[in-house]
Symmetry: C2
Subunit: 160 residues, 2 copies
Amino acid sequence: MRKFNLVLITLIMLTWGANALSDSASVDYPTDYRSWQHVKTMVIQPGHPLEDPFGGIHHIYANSKAMAGLSSGTYEGGAVFVFDLLSYVNSDQVIVEADRKRLDVMQYNPDQFSATGGWGYETFVGDSRTERWEQDVVTACYACHIPAKASNYVYSQYRP
Amino acid sequence: MRKFNLVLITLIMLTWGANALSDSASVDYPTDYRSWQHVKTMVIQPGHPLEDPFGGIHHIYANSKAMAGLSSGTYEGGAVFVFDLLSYVNSDQVIVEADRKRLDVMQYNPDQFSATGGWGYETFVGDSRTERWEQDVVTACYACHIPAKASNYVYSQYRP
């Protein structure tokens, strides 16, 4: 019975611990990101290796802490980058922005997100502020950012 | 002699007046526009009717007064929009930003720029903050904005 209690208590603690980790490690929706600094823009067209899922016109936005990090090379907790992916219409030799496909967020907090280089990753579907894309962020996000480890896993450079 | 003096004084006053008008009617370089609100983006490709001179990827930025005007439909003095035109490289199915071609500025001041709908127009060449493009703004800028008179000569709409 004592052994059973020990197992039970251990299980409860593990569950509680996992929940606590899960709760503390969630990435926030970046409410005001459209007023943040526009860093750069790129258009990924059909046939590009990253077309699925990144085909479209995307803008990178950075909050003030992320901008400071782009300059200094080091980041402090709370730095956030947004990858804002829109579909587009390419017609009559002009490319025009259309509906939002997804909003990818990188949020820096080395304690919370130590397993993924200090950055938490999240994808919000379309224009939703609450619907998060079901994904394994390690394989879907972090793995592709590892080659940029020398620049703290950040690919973007500020285009003046 | 009195007649000559009168003509001379008149000429001096006219010259001074023209200079004063010219000085007061100049559009400022928008020093910190890269930190302003990014409104929207468009890509004008080769073969488009506006390719010369607007071919490239352009971003529209608005200062806080211009953003207020986009919402309310009316503008107050000091509202400024920037049309930031970059060349681009289109290769391997990705469009990447390149050198700046020109920076077009719309600055609202109904007293200074009453002849062109209240907006002063200016083009800064490439990355220069001082080199202004030689142009007749009435034909090069204002004429094309007249069809947008109902929205105070502003074409852009904020894309959330």
